[in-house]
Symmetry: C2
Subunit: 326 residues, 2 copies
């Protein structure tokens, strides 16, 4: 089944840069979960689901954002930094799970790099349990109930896809999913699919219309990354209600709706908004290639005119904005 083994020899890495390296249909699984009250109980559940997914033939398993714990960013409390102190042990644990079930595993962990310096970090394991690489969440949100700038130092990994035995994976995390730049860079570096562990939900006090607009925009922006770049997108979201421990807000109703879409942004499968689910999808690299060949958006990019992307805002000097005469 596997078209490509991970190559650990730096001297022969050139062949790794060929994109679309997986050549057969691959079964993937996304594990959409609730938080089960304790880290220990949650790990038991997650590990059981991974075993089940592997038993069904999944080669790639994706977990949701910060899957070991409650979504603790609802309030700002230093005690939650304790969650990050077991990062090395957590990495050991998930590596063993990946190896035991022979799956490529995308995890989302809270990393202590030094006291007072923490990251929201996706660690990707190959099927032998080795670390394929990690990605530190680059775009950090901060809005009521999602106080991530208190907890997470913005990542310094850049947008580097990770090579695994099932292909080159463009792994990012949650808020990154709103940034077309991030998806594009992963694709330009040869990512064969985009993967987003995420934790997003509603506040119950919001109107039904607002809830629908937020939910649809979250789906739409991620499907758009598939379309713009001609590669599948896998998005794994948390589910269930979690109260705000600080009591400032009621709590977050995580909306689940994990999904996999193909290279045209077409929905292959999607979970509901309430259930714990293992969501399976077959990814077909032939379809991806065909889509890219007939709608070759990468062919026509006007790269010499994209300088503004590297600026915060392009308002510095209006007089330099030239207009053609008709």
């Amino acid at each position: 089944m596997l078209a490509k083994k991970k190559n650990k020899n730096k001297d022969t890495t050139t062949e790794k840069m060929t994109s679309l390296c997986y050549t057969t249909i691959m079964k993937t699984a996304l594990i959409q979960q609730k938080y089960h009250g304790t880290k220990a109980q949650t790990l038991i559940e997650t590990t059981r689901h991974i075993a089940a997914a592997a038993g069904e033939g999944a080669e790639l398993v994706v977990l949701q954002e910060l899957h070991q714990h409650e979504y603790f960013c609802q309030s700002e409390m230093t005690r939650y930094f304790d969650y990050a102190r077991n990062f090395k042990a957590d990495v050991d644990y998930w590596g063993k799970v990946a190896a035991r079930h022979k799956v490529v595993l995308v995890t989302s962990l809270f990393e202590e790099r030094a006291p007072g310096l923490y990251h929201n970090t996706a660690v990707v394991f190959d099927r032998d349990g080795s670390i394929a690489g990690k990605y530190r969440k680059m775009h950090i949100p901060d809005d009521p109930g999602f106080y991530e700038k208190f907890y997470f130092t913005p990542g310094d990994t850049g947008f580097e896809p990770l090579d695994t035995s099932v292909g080159r994976l463009g792994v990012m995390v949650c808020w990154d999913q709103w940034y077309p730049e991030a998806a594009r860079i992963m694709a330009l570096k040869g990512a064969e699919m985009l993967i987003y562990p995420t934790a997003i939900g509603w506040f119950d006090h919001e109107s039904d219309g607002e809830k629908r607009r937020q939910w649809e925009s979250w789906i739409t922006i991620q499907r758009s990354h598939a379309i713009a770049n001609g590669i599948p997108v896998l998005s794994c979201n948390r589910v269930g209600f979690e109260p705000d421990p600080g009591g400032a807000l009621e709590g977050i109703h995580f909306w689940g709706s994990s999904f996999v879409c193909g290279a045209q942004g077409e929905m292959l499968t999607q979970a509901d908004t309430e259930s714990e689910t293992i969501l399976y999808a077959d990814i077909d690299p032939d379809h991806t290639r065909q889509v890219r060949d007939i709608w070759p958006f990468l062919r026509d990019r006007r790269i010499e005119k994209y300088d503004c992307i590297g600026h915060r805002f392009c308002d510095s000097d209006p007089d330099t904005r030239t207009r053609p005469s008709v």
Copy 2:
């Protein structure tokens, strides 16, 4: 009603750079049309629709791509370059229409710049008939039935929004709609809405599934530009069947479906796939501002890590791709 008049004095243009300059709800109209067999008859129809839209209170009217003619890019024939030779007269005509009905008017014309040098050019007129500016289509497609690289030199305007009495407009054309870079740059330069005259449709021989995927991806990618940038998107598409004059393919069934969505990508209104329609939508700048303030994607961009966007593909030297150790 109008919050801002076009300012033609270069010395006082600084105030023009403030984004979201329109402050009251604005009525917009998109004119989704068929080709009526001749340019003369088509102009009569379009002009009648503009008058009707103005009568309904529209302040901004958007026409579809190359609205004066059939979509001639279905085959490669030099005789179609004759269509571009009246560019100056066309500009005069539409300027007078804009002035007569006191609307800001977005047109899409075939521009002869020199023999053998042609552009697919959007000319935007202010409500007094003056030229607010023009945009030459930057991304040029070429696929069976859409042989635009034969006809159109890629634009040299870059992505510059155009100031009008109803605000700063990010006008692009058709294939540009697949490029998140283009939408982002317009937003970073202060565009208050994105506008796409377009001409896209189905080949009848394609499967229903493929037709649906293409149609949905076209809608999804444009809604995503609204979401990523927090501004409304107006997309005006052609409708009706037009045979391939070269006979290589049967012809294109333009799928209409013109739409306006708000700053969360929410559909405000959408036309059907078959009818000639004047599609009205009210655009609310307060909603746009609120969306941007609560989901401030521009705040968190990692501009120091976006260099790869300016490259064709980032495969030059795999050994320079560094990975952090865990």
